[in-house]
């Protein structure tokens, strides 16, 4: 849970076993973010460095980036697909969401994400998906799921590339600046990143 000592003890004991990898749990239930990041940090600090750390049930784009910085390797989350079924698109433009069922999208002829190369963005517009959602057609969910998953995968791909290119801190800063153009960064993210020597301006 959110008890640092217990978590440390658990991670330590688990780490002594020769496992192919370790799952970090108990942190996907909407916990208070300042506790959340500290528990992730404890887990990744204590668990063996040469095994994958799978953070279960995370998550939103910001959470993914910060938790990668804290040393997690793998994630799973219902969020991108569930939110797609409800008509919410994840977009790299501002790393924000679009609620396609809103009337404003009825005549928006842009693709969901102009930067995206997934099949949905190559073949449909926000206006068409809006129409499909209002008509309650199942295929609307499928179109948007394809895109939202592509968004997540592309985010991770670029993040990984930045690690390979040795410019991860820059990637993180750019990402946060895009997601928070008014620089109103959430305090927990600022603290978590500072803990691994990434400072947001």
């Amino acid at each position: 849970g959110l008890d640092g000592d217990l978590r440390r003890r658990c991670a330590d004991a688990m780490g002594r076993r020769d496992m192919p990898g370790f799952a970090i749990g108990g942190l996907s239930g909407g916990e208070e973010k300042s506790s959340f990041w500290r528990m992730v940090a404890i887990s990744t600090e204590v668990l063996p460095k040469d095994r994958p750390r799978y953070l279960m049930g995370v998550g939103y784009a910001v959470d993914l980036v910060v938790c990668c910085a804290l040393g997690c390797d793998m994630f799973d989350c219902v969020y991108p697909t569930r939110t797609a079924r409800f008509g919410t698109a994840l977009t790299s433009v501002g790393h924000s969401t679009l609620h396609l069922k809103n009337k404003e999208f009825a005549t928006d002829f842009l693709p969901v994400d102009p930067n995206c190369s997934c099949s949905t963005c190559q073949s449909t517009t926000r206006a068409y998906l809006h129409a499909l959602f209002i008509n309650r057609e199942a295929v609307a969910c499928h179109y948007l799921t394809v895109h939202n998953v592509a968004y997540q995968l592309e985010l991770m791909r670029r993040l990984r590339q930045s690690l390979l290119d040795q410019c991860f801190p820059t990637f993180v800063c750019d990402f946060m600046a895009t997601a928070y153009p008014d620089k109103d960064y959430p305090q927990w993210a600022v603290d978590a990143l500072a803990a691994v020597n990434i400072y947001l301006h």
Partner: protein, 389 residues
């Protein structure tokens, strides 16, 4: 620049049987008859994104797509499509296909009680919308389909008064003439298709057919056939007599969910085109088409094994829970049953793809048998199989 919508058609009749087969060339598309048009909802094949539709056998993919106002009139709606300025095909990513815009959703029963002298009611996701010929033509102008069904007062049912049936024929003709006039003045270049009415009264059917045949339309849609109340032979009789009166050089279409047996009968009467609303209807109920002699052995309660050669399988049934035969698009009946039990959306995707493939292959094979002279054999085999259940 709109590509020419001129239709170049040729139909041939088998000498002894009188069964038709033909081709309709429209722009660069070739539509083979007898054949199917793709039933869509809001311009999409239900459950299937284009990548999945493309996984269907290429030769089977229809070159004609059916849209309907029930699922398009509210959203995207006339305004949004008008604003896009290029018509509904690019709006909805419909490529390389001829489009025909029907008035009603093929699977919905006609609620003609709401129709009036000057309006037809269409049921959209937001409820009832009354369309005048003007409003209908405004939509056709914005959508720019290749072909469209003219506004019509379709009535169906056994308890219709003679008066109501007559009104339906009169109104439909009036709407037709008004549509044709509108076309002239507004220059809508889509090809109009007329609806033949008359319910189950032969005299009205013939009147509707004879009058409609005199108008310059691209083809005919035989509406209001009561497959629920009338026997197959009664429907066949009505169809044959109605079609005899229509010019043979224009396509004859039936909208609505038709079983394979009903398709055979209709083709023998002289119908050219159907839609794929039937496979959709089956999918929504968790039913799978089984048209190509895939006999899944099923284990009932008490360990009685029974071969099931039905053409329609109810995969909701508990008896499929452990049937691991790979009968649905490479997936087992057990898996589809599980998906249905857990209400997973994937059930719809796999069933729709499977049912569409089966239905299209059925019609395709049927057409091939007409062309190479083995139709008699083919349909006899199929009909006897349907009988022994």
């Amino acid at each position: 620049v709109r590509a020419s919508r001129k239709m170049d058609m040729s139909f041939h009749s088998l000498p002894l049987l009188g069964i038709r087969h033909g081709t309709i060339k429209c722009g660069s598309s070739v539509i083979e008859t007898p054949g199917c048009m793709l039933y869509t909802r809001c311009c999409a094949v239900p459950h299937l994104v284009p990548e999945i539709v493309r996984e269907l056998e290429g030769a089977l993919l229809p070159r004609l797509t059916q849209l309907n106002l029930s699922t398009c009139y509210e959203r995207p709606g006339v305004d949004a499509v008008k604003q896009s300025r290029r018509g509904i095909k690019p709006f909805a990513n419909l490529q390389d296909t001829v489009t025909i815009c029907a008035v009603h959703d093929a699977v919905e029963p006609s609620r003609f009680e709401y129709n009036e002298e000057k309006t037809v009611s269409v049921w959209t996701v937001s409820g009832r919308r009354k369309l005048t010929v003007s409003a209908h033509m405004e939509a056709m102008n914005a959508f720019q389909p290749d072909w469209f069904q003219c506004l019509s007062d379709t009535v169906v049912g056994s308890s219709l008064s003679q008066k109501r049936i007559r009104k339906s024929v009169d109104r439909t003709l009036r709407f037709l003439d008004q549509t044709l006039t509108h076309q002239q003045t507004e220059g809508v270049s889509a090809v109009p298709f007329a609806s033949i009415q008359g319910a189950s009264v032969l005299s009205e059917r013939l009147r509707s057919a004879r009058e409609t045949a005199q108008r310059p339309v691209g083809g005919f849609i035989i509406e209001g056939l009561d497959y629920k109340e009338m026997t197959d032979s009664a429907v066949a009789d009505l169809l044959t007599k109605t079609l005899e009166v229509l010019p043979p050089d224009k396509p004859r279409i039936i909208f609505g969910p038709r079983t394979p047996e009903q398709i055979l009968t209709a083709i023998e009467c002289g119908v050219d085109l159907f839609d794929t609303s039937y496979p959709y209807q089956l999918t929504e109920k968790g039913l799978a088409l089984n048209l190509f002699a895939n006999s899944p052995t099923t284990t009932r309660v008490g360990n009685l094994c029974q071969a099931d050669a039905s053409t329609v399988l109810d995969l909701n049934d508990q008896m499929y829970a452990r049937n691991f035969q790979h009968g649905v698009d490479g997936y087992s009946y057990a898996y589809i049953h599980h998906l249905l039990q857990t209400k997973e959306m994937l059930a719809g995707v796999l069933l729709m793809k499977h049912n569409l493939q089966q239905y299209l292959r059925f019609v395709h094979t049927l057409r091939a048998s007409i062309i190479n002279g083995t139709y008699d054999n083919y349909c006899q085999q199929f009909r006897s199989r349907v009988k022994d259940r």
